[in-house]
């Protein structure tokens, strides 16, 4: 899928939770939102993108959230 669009979507989700959630919770909330609403290939793609290039274009919170997804993916792959 168009990675620019996924990055844009991730950033927009982050903009909401950046203020909508308690600060300690925000990255987790963004990641949860992506898990609940994004089809796996969308998540896979943004994780791959992040892992390849440090997630250029992602805002800080989105990057943090994608990092969480990436960590989870690694965990489940190794499990």
């Amino acid at each position: 899928m168009n990675i620019e669009l996924l990055v844009k979507m991730a950033n927009e989700i982050s903009l909401f939770f950046a203020s909508g959630s308690a600060p300690t919770q925000a990255a987790r909330d963004v990641a949860t939102h992506m898990k609940r609403f994004w089809e796996p290939r969308m998540r896979r793609q943004i994780v791959t993108y992040y892992e390849k290039g440090q997630g250029e274009g992602l805002n800080d919170l989105a990057r943090e959230a994608v990092a969480l997804l990436a960590a989870e993916a690694r965990l489940s792959n190794s499990a």
């Binding site: 909401f16 909508g20 308690a22 994004w38 089809e39």
Partner: protein
């Protein structure tokens, strides 16, 4: 004339039923609530007092003097329609004196009728005839009539006004005022010269009349009568069903002649016992059903291997086998998740349920979505997050108890006309109105109605506006803290309060963004928070934004903070666009949710479905519609089953959609017509109209109503049967013999539907979910003692401007809407006489913007955005502010969505239809412009195919 099987009680039931009162009528004892008229009490006791000027949808008027009765101990002969019952009353409805008086009155009426009045097209349903029989007077004793003949007005495509039959009872005038609220009719002149006139004596079609038909139904004679009754004759049979147009979900009696395949609908009469509409309807539901028999209906399945080929007719067996074969072939080649389906908000609950079951159980993927994605998905997300349930909180009737009505991003008089009539009635009774809309919608100014405050904000700034309103509520101490303390999560409330109280959210600061003076915003906030019951109604002007979900949460925040939830007269209410938007969402049409909004990752829920359906179900969310398009363009999504939805016309950024569809290997379209999407289809399966099937629709108030088959399906199958055929061919047989069995399955698997059955629907008429052991008859008002979520949750709603901004290339903001006579993409209404009111989409442009571009009324203008360009005619209008242009999207030629972009709501991907930066220029040759855009489109599609090696 009212419905053929209706017993008219003459006057309405009292709104606030008082204590029971027992009276005696002709020796019969009757007990009725205080406030009931003697006429109504008699009718309830089975005694029909002769009447002409009374009917039970209108207030008693007391002008015809036919309904006189005798009351023991009272002098004279009071009119029973205007006399209210009192304890111990003894009434006589028949006596020689009464008979003589009534004969005298009727004699005068008949003397004004043409000699052959009894032969009028109203035939046996002419109330004059009923009364003549009752009083025993067949013809007038006077000489020829004194009334001057007047010409017949047949300008309206659906009904005629023939003044020779008019008895000037003013039922039509009162229906237009009281029921519809349009005030188009008057009685002109006096005495024998009095006559009914539309507007300033204009033909109906040119008058302010909106063709709702209330007057036609109220008319006791053949003066106002449907052309279809004149053409086809008196109806013989009535079937109660539900309108298939908008989310009001009006109940109708379909009156027909003939039987079997020869059944003809003579007219649609709104059901006076209908819980959503109480006997009212609009021009679409009442009159625009002709599309069902339009010659454009495609009644045979069609097939082709490539979208460049011509269609060829196929048998059902061949078409279904081909479709199933392709799905399996494509899954074999590209993987299980390379296919998906789209359920329709126009089809029934049972049909939406079956399509999502087909996708999840037979395709084995969660790639199912619904056209509600593009309209109200933010409603589901926003209301579920804050209140705990993805639906509006009230019944329509709740508006009758509202003191302050806040309408935001909705245009009820055009989009939800029958509910608009209920709003208008309440406003005439004195409720206050706040409108938040970039456009001066009709509610802002119309006969006998004016908005107290209109916040005419810039498109795309709803969240800024809601934050500014909340700022005032919080900083001026207008919150209901006790209510919040009892019902909502405290930490989130405190966070929200602190956030909205920040100076940057004040109306003064936000004025620069919204364009609305702060003083006006402050007044609106105070009015909503302190004016008594505050009720919010909103539409797509809230949801179809990049911050659609945030705005819905903003509305819920406001309502919670001011204690405006959980009783009659208040609430947060989405006005749903299509008839079954609520239902299709309820039915598990979203890729991440089963029925009743339960996430697919919830293993307990999944197990329930797996046991019932006998298959393993995927636990990950599937693709949403825009994601399907993206996945198609990257080659990982290759087949789509679309039931009853024209995504090419209705979805944004048409070029993107068509490229995505063109890249697919099998598109299966099931519809009434070869729509725009069918241009990209390989299999076409004929659909059935709402007249041709059984099922249920769920309207904007969560009301489940029955759709009943009036005639057999013209193409041989009801839509749910077609889905079954496909499922069977895929090796996953479904065994339902009637949609009621599908509803039983839904009830079995969905806690909020547990108590719903066809038997109960037949008994109660309709049911508002949740319906279960706790609420066996359904739930008109939600969140009564506590929020469904448990504690209500406030969300901080930071305003984030859309990335769609004006610049020197695209200096205007386009926003879109709809119009009364047309419906959605217009596939149905365009195929009816409704085109007489709206034959094309127009671009509304402010006089100032028009002038600097040299654009005059009616000129062709080209409109360009960064997504595409289209051409349409201009209408100069100051309903919109300078800098904003507005159009509707009912006609495919306009291709309004060619210009809308792929921007979407952050939470749900609901497209941002309401904000597109555009440039508008005058063009001399519409066709040349169109050809150019068509050329560009085909280049674009070629380009897309080139990107897709599998299809090269």
């Amino acid at each position: 004339m009212f419905a053929i099987d209706y017993r008219d009680c003459g006057t309405p039931a009292p709104r606030d039923a008082g204590a029971p009162v027992t009276i005696d009528i002709d020796g019969k004892s009757v007990t009725v609530p205080e406030g009931t008229s003697v006429m109504r009490a008699a009718s309830l006791a089975g005694i029909q007092v002769p009447k002409l000027c009374a009917t039970d949808t209108l207030k008693a008027f007391g002008s015809c003097r036919l309904c006189l009765v005798e009351i023991e101990g009272r002098k004279g002969y009071p009119a029973s329609c205007t006399t209210l019952v009192a304890p111990g009353m003894k009434i006589r409805t028949q006596s020689e004196k009464l008979a003589a008086l009534r004969r005298g009155v009727l004699d005068l009426y008949l003397s004004d009728q043409p000699p052959a009045w009894a032969e009028s097209p109203a035939k046996g349903h002419n109330e004059l005839e009923t009364v003549a029989k009752a009083v025993g007077l067949a013809r007038t004793t006077y000489g020829p009539g004194r009334r001057r003949p007047a010409p017949v007005d047949d300008s309206n495509p659906y009904f005629v006004f023939d003044p020779q039959y008019c008895i000037v009872c003013s039922r039509c005038v009162r229906a237009c005022d009281e029921v519809q609220g349009t005030f188009a009719l008057t009685v002109q002149g006096r005495g024998y010269d009095s006559k009914i006139a539309a507007s300033e004596g204009q033909p109906f079609l040119e008058s302010e009349c909106v063709s709702c038909g209330a007057c036609v139904e109220a008319c006791p004679t053949a003066a106002l009568i449907e052309k279809s009754v004149i053409r086809l004759g008196e109806p013989q049979r009535a079937v109660i069903t539900t309108c298939a147009y908008c989310g009001v979900g009006c109940s109708f009696e379909a009156e027909t002649r003939g039987s079997g395949a020869a059944t003809e609908v003579v007219r649609m009469v709104p059901n006076r016992d209908g819980d959503a509409n109480h006997g009212h309807a609009c021009v679409k539901g009442r009159f625009a059903y002709g599309y069902a028999t339009h010659p454009d209906r495609q009644l045979k399945p069609l097939l082709r291997a490539s979208i460049r080929d011509e269609w060829r007719e196929a048998s059902w067996e061949e078409a279904i086998a081909y479709a199933a074969g392709e799905i399996r072939r494509i899954q074999g080649k590209y993987g299980r998740d390379s296919v998906g389906g789209i359920t329709s908000s126009r089809c029934s609950n049972e049909e939406a349920f079956l399509v999502q079951k087909l996708v999840r159980a037979a395709f084995g993927t969660n790639n199912v979505d619904t056209c509600a994605r593009v309209c109200h998905s933010p409603t589901g997300y926003g209301l579920k997050s804050t209140l705990g349930e993805s639906a509006g909180t009230q019944a329509f009737t709740s508006v009758a108890r509202a003191d302050v009505i806040l309408v935001i991003g909705a245009n009820p008089t055009d989009g939800h006309p029958v509910f608009a009539s209920q709003i208008k009635r309440r406003l005439r009774e004195g409720a206050k109105l706040i409108v938040i809309d970039p456009r001066v919608i009709d509610l802002v100014r119309s006969p006998h109605i004016a908005a107290d405050i209109h916040l005419q904000l810039q498109p795309g700034t709803n969240v800024a506006m809601l934050n500014a309103l909340a700022h005032v509520v919080v900083t001026e101490g207008l919150t209901k803290d006790d209510y919040v303390a009892e019902r909502c999560e405290a930490p989130a409330y405190q966070r929200w309060k602190a956030f909205v109280a920040e100076e940057r959210n004040s109306p003064e600061t936000m004025a620069a963004i919204t364009g609305v003076p702060a003083g006006l915003v402050r007044r609106a906030a105070r009015l909503y928070a302190t004016g008594g019951n505050g009720a919010i109604y909103y539409g797509l002007g809230v949801t179809e934004h990049s911050q659609g979900s945030t705005a819905v949460m903003g509305l819920a925040n406001l309502a919670m903070a001011t204690g405006n939830l959980g009783r009659e007269g208040v609430g947060v209410n989405p006005l749903r666009g299509q008839n079954n938007v609520q239902g299709s969402c309820d039915m598990g049409s979203f890729p991440h949710e089963f029925t009743g909004y339960r996430h697919v990752s919830d293993s307990a829920v999944r197990t329930l479905f797996e046991r019932d359906w006998g298959v393993q179900l995927p636990a990950e969310p599937g693709l949403r519609i825009p994601n399907m398009f993206e996945a198609s363009l990257d080659g990982s999504f290759r087949a789509l089953y679309v039931q009853g939805e024209d995504i090419v016309q209705s979805d944004p950024n048409t070029h993107h959609v068509t490229s995505a569809l063109a890249a697919m290997e099998c598109v299966i379209v099931q519809d009434l017509f070869l729509n725009e999407t069918a241009r990209f289809a390989h299999v076409f399966l004929p659909g059935s109209s709402f007249l041709e099937k059984d099922g249920t629709f769920t309207n904007a108030e969560r009301r489940i109503s029955r759709v009943r088959k009036v005639m057999p399906p013209r193409a041989g199958y009801e839509d749910w049967q077609v889905t079954m055929l496909l499922s069977e061919a895929l090796g996953y047989p479904m065994r339902y013999t009637h949609p009621s069995e599908i509803m039983d399955e839904i009830a079995r698997l969905t806690p909020t539907f547990a108590g719903v059955s066809y038997e109960k629907l037949d008994r109660l008429g309709s049911i508002q979910w949740p319906c279960n052991d706790a609420a066996p008859d359904g739930t008109p008002t939600m969140h009564v003692h506590q929020f469904v979520r448990g504690k209500g949750r406030f969300y901080v709603t930071e305003y984030v401007p859309t990335s769609e901004r004006v610049n020197s290339r695209f200096p205007l903001i386009l926003t879109t809407g709809r119009i009364l006579s047309q419906y959605n993409v217009g596939a149905q209404t365009r195929r009816t006489d409704n085109v007489l009111w709206h034959a094309e989409d127009l671009l509304e442009i402010h006089p100032h913007d028009a002038e600097v571009r040299g654009i005059a009324e009616g000129d062709w203008v080209g409109m360009t955005s960064r997504a595409g360009e289209t051409v349409l005619r201009a209408r100069i209008s100051d309903r919109i502010a300078p800098g904003v242009v507005y159009t509707t999207f009912h006609f495919p030629q306009t291709q309004a969505n060619v210009v809308t972009t792929e921007n979407s709501d952050w939470a749900t991907n609901c497209p941002e239809y309401k904000v597109t930066a555009v440039q508008v220029v005058r063009v001399s040759q519409a066709d040349a412009w169109r050809e150019r855009t068509a050329l560009e489109r085909s280049l674009h599609e070629t380009h897309a195919r080139a990107r897709d090696p599998a299809h090269a």
